[in-house]
Structure formats: C-alpha cells, structure tokens
Amino acid sequence: MGKDECKTMLDALNKVTACYRHLVIALGSTSDSQNLREELKRTRKKAQELAVANRTKLTSLLKDKSISKDDRAEYERLWVLFSSSMELLEVDMKRSLEIGQDFPLKVPTRHLIQTGMTGSTTTVAARAMSVQNMKYEADSNIDTADLRDLQCEISQVSQMMEEMEMKVQVAPWAVEAKQEAGAELKSNMSVGNSSVGVISICEEEPKEEDGGGNRDAGFASICAVLVFFVIVTVAVVLGYLVINMS
C-alpha cells in the first residue's frame, strides 16, 4: 500500500540523514580525510535521491482529494516527518560546505583540529549506503571539486523545499504525534552490542515493534542454546553407554 511504501522510504531517508550528520561532525577534525569527503558526497547523493522519491510519492498522495480524513491526517504526519528531515539535511549540507571550505585537505600545512577522534567513518557511511563495504574511487582533488557540486546541490535542495512549501498546504502544527514522551526507550536495542555485521537492504523493524519483543527474542535464543547443549550432552552420554554396552 502507498502508506507502507512511504514509511519505508521515510525510514531510509531518516537513516541517511542521521548518518550524514554524523559524517559532517567528523569534518575538520583528525578523522577527516579524503575518504570522508567521498563518503559525504555519496551519502548526500543518496539522500537527495531518496528525498526526490519521497517528495513525489507524498505530493501525489496528498494531492489526491478522495482520501479519508484519517488517511489524510496520516499523510500529513508523514509530510511533517519528511519536511523535518529535509530541514536537517539542508542545514547539514550548508554547514559541511562551510567547514569544507575552511579545512581544505590538499594544502602543504594541513591543520586539522585534534579532537581525539582518529578512527575512520567507513562503517557509518556503509550504514548510510546500505552496503557492506565502501569502495573509494575518488580523485585527489575531491575536496575542492566536490564543493562546487555541493553548492549546486544546496541550491537544488533549497529550491525543492520552497516548492514543497508552495505546493502542499499542510499545517505542521496541526499534526499530532503518535509517540508519547519516552517512546525512544521502548524500541531500544540491547546496550553494549555494536551492530557491525550484515546490514540488510530491506529496512529495520517498523516503529510499532516493542522492546519487549527484543528482550524476549534474547531470552528465547539463550534458552534454545541451552537446550541444544543439554541434548548434545545427553546424546554423547547415551552414545558412550551404547558403545560400552556393545
């Protein structure tokens, strides 16, 4: 259905926005590098593709006059989600332009701020692009060439947002959120795990899933492992007895 598709795409956009913010925070610091600039560029492009897709979908859904009131309320809520994501993305893009200009990489005396971050941001970018490993293939002058592209893209995004404002009449303050205060605590991942591993192309669990589900799944797996070991032990003991008997 249109709604689920929308939600999936919005989740994707949300994820890419979060990862992009993380990458921009690393700009100008000691974890800045050629690779980071390329990661930023590719994340940005993906964000823009997702944004355009989302916008088309949502605009067509909202323009449809024959939808029910509940549906319309839901689409408006999704619209507010989308526009907030876009605002965040736009600000981050502008800031990355500014910081990128202030901290060029290809200069003889490079002064990056010693922030204590020395690791790479490959995993974050891989998460954004939904791939397992990132391949880097950019030229060495990415930091200057990319900035020009970035300026174009920023103007594109600003234009898109203005068009959105004009074309779609949604009052953002009239939207009621579905999540109540403290909702982020419910769908919490178990603390201490890092989710390095396979990142599936299809999206994460939807918003409605409970943290209870996660916890139960943990218990269930531990129980299953225990049962397995018990069975193996019993089998070994029986086998030993059988061999002894024969």
């Binding site: 605002e87 971050m117 982020e184």
Partner: protein, 501 residues
Amino acid sequence: MTIRNTLRDHGQRYRPRMACLKKAEKLLLEMQDPKTGVKSQPQRLVITTIPHAITGEDIIAWLADRFQVDTQEARNFVSMLVALGYIYPLQDHRRLVIKPDASLYRFQTPYFWPTQQWPVEDTDYAIYLAKRNIRKRGILELHEQEHYNRLHKWMNHKWDFVVMQAKEQYRAAKERKKPDRVVFECQERAYWVVHRPPPGTVSAMDYGLDRLTDPNADEVTGLLCCSFKHYTPLTRSLCFLCSRRLVKYCSTYKSHDPFLSNCLPSNPWLTDDATYWSLNMPSVEIPTKMRVERWTFSFAELLSDPRGRDDFRLFLKKEFSGENLAFWEGCEDLKWGEAATMREKAEHIYKTFLARGAPRWINIDGKTMEVTVKGLKHPHRYVLDPAQTHIYMLMKKDSYGRYQKSPVFKDTVKKAICPEEHRYSDAQLQQNAKKRRPSLSPIILRQMEQEQRAKMAANVDITQVMSKLSKQGKEAPPPFLAPPLRNKHKRVMFRDFYRRI
C-alpha cells in the same frame, strides 16, 4: 512550515561582541600545529586510550608565550575560549572553567564551534535529549528532564521525527569504534552545556538583542568617520559637558546598579529569592536605605518612585501645599491617560486648581495662566504643560529642599531598613530554584493602583481646602486677567526658564 534562515532574511541577527568568534577560530588553528602548537598527551581511560588531551597549564603557558602577556591575562583569555565552547573540560564537564593545573581538556570539533549564522535549534536539542534518554535509560538530570517535558509539549507535532532521528543517530554512533564513540559523546555533551547551560550557570553565547549589521563584514567608511580635532569649539565643549555629566551620573549611581555592585539582600535573578522585590514594592511601608538615598539624588528620582512620592505628599500635607503635587499628578494623568476621558479630566483640573475661587488653587503667574486658560478652550494632551512645568520647578526649588530637611524625611531615613546579604550554599540555591513562583499578575497590580488612586481622590484633605479658602479671603483674587503678582515664586520661575536644567 517553519521559518528558516534564507538568504533574503533581513532580520537582525548579529551581535557586535561576537566578532571575537572568527578571531578565536584562527587562534585555534594555530594551536593545532604539531611543532609550535599546544602539546597533547593521551588520556587513559579504563580500557581505552584517547589521544589529543591537553592540560590546562599547557594551554595557558602557550597563550602567554604566543601573545607575550602575563599568566593571569592568558588565563582569562583561555577561560573565555572554554566558556564559548572551543575547548571543553574532560573532568567536571558541567563547569566550563579553566583550571591552571594538570586537568585535561580537548578541542571541540568544528561542527560544534559556536557560530552566529547557525542558531541553536530546539529540534536538535530535543534529539539530543532523546538520545541521552536512551543512553541513560530514562534517568535524565533534573533540568534536562524539565527541558524534555517542555519540548515534548511545544514541539509535539515534530515528536515522531525527534524519536526516529534520535534512534537512528544513536545507532549510527554505535557504528564507530569505542574511543571515537566516547569522544563523540563528550563533544556533544560539551556543546549542549554551552548552549543550554545547567541552572545556576550562564551561557557565554547569551547576548542581548540582535543587531542588523554583521561585525565580520567589511565596514562602511566615510560618512560618519571624523576625528575629534575636526569638531568646532562649540561641539567640543558640548562633548565635554556631556562626558562630565555622564561621569557624574556614573559615579552617583554606581553603588545602586545591581550589575556593578551587590544587590541587597540578593539579586533575585541569581539566587531565585524574591525578597529584594518584595522589599522594594511600589507601596511598601518601610523603604530600604538605598531607595531613600536615591530620593536625595534629584527631584525627578523622588517623584518617579511611588513610595517617595507618598512621602513627599505627606510632607506637603503638613505644610498645607499639597495642591501643587496634586496638580502635577493630574497633569501627568492627562498627558498619559486615555483620549476619551481627556476633556473631562481637563475640565476637572481647571475647576479644582485653576479657576478663580477653586478649592485647591495653585499659584502660577499670570502669563502662564492666560496661556493655559486659552488652551483649555480646545483641550488636548499637552495643554497644561506650561503650568505643569512651572509647578514642577516650584516644587523642585522650594519644597524639595525643605523636604530634605524636614522631620518627615528624617523619620523615614531613620526607619529605613538595610537588609542583610544572603549567603546561599549550592544546595539552597537549587532549593530556591525549585520554589520559583510567578509574581503578582500585572492586572492585579494595576487594579491595586487604581483603587489607591480612587481612595486618594476621595480623601482630599479637608483641612487643606479650608485653609486655602480662608487664605483666599485675605489675599487679592487670583491674577486671572490682572497684572502678574510680584512674588519670589515668579522670579524663581524666570530664572529657571533660562538656566539649562
């Protein structure tokens, strides 16, 4: 849609003081030089080791060397950098101060540097609080919890986005290695300590109203730039006079300014204790010593303070010349009151104070009386201005001096209280902050004011009226159309007119 900062925004967004930010950034870059910059050392935590930690004494020493200043100056400078958020402390992260010992600091990443262009958004703060909520499993600090609840209420339409984004950012942060994760958390926490300071601290990024011109842009030269020596002698002497007056004003009011000297008992904005305000209410029985001292600075001070005016009124009542003050107050009421009731007010004032045989007749000279009566034919707000000025000068030159020597005033001075200074501990300050309550509504205050005024109007002193009527029997009729009376009040008036007051 929310209102965003677009290029066409002509709003006032700059504050001249923030021109220091660009300069601080240049300095920060210099500090990073591996050869000539500040020496860094690794920070050893339980399992991990994080590089690029600098000690307080190292930074201060480097700065003192770079700018060739003494240690105290360098220390002040570095504390400014810390307060702005360019360098953050690793231990005791809530207090943004520089300690000139081996305590560790770290540089902040450029994204979190303070800027004027990118205002600190509440959305970002909400996302940060939600992330912190996840990390701390629901146990936030008190002020953070309050902010969270408030933002949840006011940003409710965006709350889904906040939750989604917080979860995604939390997961994205987990993708990094442990040392980087720790550093990132410290950075973000330091950023928000600067921009949403915990209670009892002040943000260095707090400034007053925004201005229109960007301090970092090129200056417009030409029109207004002229040096002092090009001024004419008259302009120069006026400049000197103005500056002398300014100096005199500053030296007189210095001890009364709550910014420059201690506010007794304590500044309510700092300690959340409203005793100062309740002691200085407009109509309090016993005023404070500082307030009474201010009444002696000038007549305008005395009249503008309601309690001072009450005292003065009491004194005038004893001298049977309360009609001057009543007339002055009536004129003020006319000037600042509603246009609908203006006509009646003007007529009432005329009947009570100015007409021949009026019950509270005031003594003004013939010319002023003529002008006033002529104006009253078509009354407007400022029709009684000449008369009011005359009476004001009269009171100032005559009654004010006598008031200051009178037993009424001396009695007030003796009874005035000087409250003890409060000395609150940190725990008590937190208690005070919790007990904060809004003050009386302005509507109620206004009603009280109006009741008081009505009471005063009803209580026109009957003895004064009687004495006035008896005096009138002996004196000549008021000089309405007769030639002006020669009396010392008139001479006082002329002298004052030509003296610059």
